[in-house]
Subunit: 119 residues, 2 copies
């Protein structure tokens, strides 16, 4: 067993794509990921897991289906409760730390989910 330092900015510098989470670490069967957001993601939900968003850079709005929303900046997090339909969006590129159990499709649907490559 070894102790490993993971620098999130260095990981984010390794890709340019948006809505394309990259795995940087494992925590108890969860993927710890970095991702870049620009524009609007589709509304979706995860029936069996909460969804963890921590903003690292930029500004992200998460919309709920009922017209509610939160707008988050760096150092702010939102955990979307399991089953809640939501949509992240960002006017300009934002950088985000995501945590989801391994195997969870980021769109809520395996047919449209990102591959989640490992950095």
């Amino acid at each position: 067993m070894t102790l490993k330092k993971i620098n999130l900015a260095e990981k984010l510098a390794q890709f340019d794509s948006h809505w394309d989470p990259h795995v940087v670490a494992d925590y108890n069967g969860n993927d710890v990921m970095v991702v870049k957001f620009t524009g609007e993601f589709p509304f979706h939900h995860h029936p069996e897991t909460d969804d963890f968003f921590l903003i690292l850079d930029g500004e992200v709005t998460i919309d709920g289906e009922a017209g509610d929303h939160v707008t988050l900046g760096p150092g702010e997090l939102c955990i979307v409760p399991r089953g809640m339909t939501h949509r992240p969006r960002a006017v300009r590129e934002a950088k985000v730390l995501l945590i989801e159990p391994k195997g969870v499709p980021n769109t809520g649907d395996p047919a449209t989910a990102a591959a989640k490559p490992r950095l």
Copy 2:
């Protein structure tokens, strides 16, 4: 269900104690916590869980038992594998995001564990 914004700096401003994690959110049965470190924590291990550290402010060193260590700054994380004996330390006050399953003693021992109050 509601979307809630959690500002980590605002949460950290609500207490001054060290080695005293405060719960700010829940993620799938895990406590998401903020904590301030100064000085040395005891060496300990968690037999059944990985230990998630993300540095928000300051500098933290995590020592392994074999003399290995990592030194982490803001935006850097380390996930200590389950079962690995380790000790966090900080020369000056550092602010950290921790994630651990609910009920896990921060010292590895319920007799000496912090209470983990909720903010």
